[in-house]
């Protein structure tokens, strides 16, 4: 009994050391399920559907209830054992769906492949011959995956989402009076409305996209040093620049 405990303890320390950003609860639950499952099924998980590698981490359903159909413990969105779609678990966030760490900086190119893999399993069009319950699960899961992809692809929505995950709600309808920022945006919007030809519009657009990248980097800095007020300001600026880009595109 003691031996198992020490073994579990040392495994968890090892995992914590290797993946420092892993959620503590998640890793412990993973270990417990690993010690209970026979070795064969463990290998089955990591090799089957091998395209879906979640950087070495095994995710199990947060509720711990397992697959509704066959009771398989590690059924994340979809049960690989009996191939049934699981109901949406609200505690699962978008980063987990794509097997990414909860960081702002991601490689947006990595999203599309995983998105397609998920839809091959979850899309409602693939479950016509299944029960109504499962078809409903498919519709919800598929929609959530689509929303997750959309949110994580664009810088601004990703920033706002990651702030939300940290309990900071950015989208509050407060008025701001920062004269420097507002003056700059005023001038920018005036320039856009005065610009007539596509050359000048595209010129302005590339300037704005420069600024977007710049403030996106500032957001990363602020967010990672937990300076949430500064992070909010970065997001506000990015919103203004995105809006300006939309106006340019309308004119082009």
């Amino acid at each position: 009994m003691k031996k198992t405990k020490t073994m579990v303890a040392s495994i968890s320390t090892l995992i914590r050391r290797t993946y420092p950003s892993t959620n503590q609860c998640n890793s412990l639950a993973t270990i417990q399920s690993q010690t209970q499952l026979p070795r064969e099924s463990l290998q089955h998980h990591s090799s089957a559907e091998g395209r879906l590698r979640f950087s070495g981490r095994v995710f199990c359903s947060e509720s711990g209830a397992g697959c509704w159909n066959c009771g398989e413990k590690a059924a994340f969105l979809f049960c690989n054992s009996c191939r049934s779609i699981q109901p949406v678990d609200d505690s699962v966030d978008y980063f987990q769906i794509f097997g990414l760490e909860k960081k702002y900086e991601i490689d947006p190119g990595s999203l599309e492949g995983k998105y397609k893999d998920w839809q091959k399993k979850l899309h409602p069009d693939l479950v016509h011959n299944k029960s109504k319950k499962e078809r409903d699960y498919a519709a919800e899961q598929s929609a959530k995956v689509t929303e997750a992809c959309r949110t994580l692809t664009k810088r601004l929505s990703r920033a706002m989402y990651i702030m939300k995950l940290n309990g900071v709600n950015v989208n509050e309808e407060e008025t701001i009076t920062d004269p420097t920022l507002l003056m700059e945006i005023m001038e920018l919007r005036e320039a856009i409305s005065e610009a007539d030809d596509s050359t000048s519009l595209n010129q302005i657009r590339s300037q704005v996209q420069e600024k977007l990248k710049q403030w996106s980097d500032s957001f990363v800095e602020a967010f990672e040093s937990q300076k949430f007020d500064d992070a909010v300001k970065c997001i506000q600026r990015m919103t203004y620049y995105e809006r300006a880009c939309e106006e340019i595109l309308k004119k082009l």
Binding site: N171, E172, E173, E174, T175, I176, T177, D178, P179, L181, L182, M183, I185, M186, R189, E190, S193, I235, Q236, T239, Y240, E242, R243, A244, E247
Partner: protein, 167 residues
């Protein structure tokens, strides 16, 4: 309350002549909003450095709106004699600031501080999702008055300093 209504009428809000608030047919924007959008009153700018001008510059970062409202004040009477606005945002935001510039004209500065966003919203029949646009206009009015007052303090302070040095 009655005085305010009389004043509103006096300001000649011609847009409302034949338009009842409640419209039988469901529209996306209320007619008052469309009117202010198509025929905006008082679009433009005053010289920011004019000592009789107060400039209010406000923004709604959630939707990327920016609103500039300027007032021209008669320094002797403290009355707002003219107003201008420039808004980049949705139709409701533009209409709200247009209405605001109309309502502040001819009023004393202290009076315009009592203009509430709910009144603007009611005049334009703004739906709940657009209430913040009228709030932005109310904030713009307050910011313009504040700017004017701060400018007066500066110029008065400079004048007083000038007097003491002369003496």
């Amino acid at each position: 309350m009655m005085l305010k209504q009389a004043a509103k009428k006096a300001l000649g809000l011609t847009s409302r002549q034949s338009t009842p608030w409640s419209v039988g047919i469901l529209r996306t924007y209320h007619e008052n909003v469309i009117d202010h959008y198509d025929n905006p009153r008082n679009v433009g700018s005053f010289d920011k450095n004019d000592p009789n001008v107060g400039t209010g510059l406000v923004g709604a970062p959630a939707c990327g709106d920016v609103m500039k409202l300027q007032i021209k004040v008669d320094e002797k009477t403290g009355q707002i004699v003219d107003a201008r606005f420039k808004t980049f945002g949705c139709g409701s935001a533009i209409a709200s600031s247009s209405v605001a510039t109309e309502w502040v004209k001819g009023k004393a500065m202290e009076d315009v501080l009592t203009i509430k966003n709910t009144e603007i919203a009611k005049h334009l029949s703004l739906p709940p999702v657009k209430l913040h646009c009228s709030m932005l206009a109310e904030d713009a009015i307050k910011a313009a008055v504040k700017d004017y007052k701060e400018k007066r303090v500066k110029t008065n302070g400079a004048a007083a300093a000038g007097e003491t040095t002369q003496a």
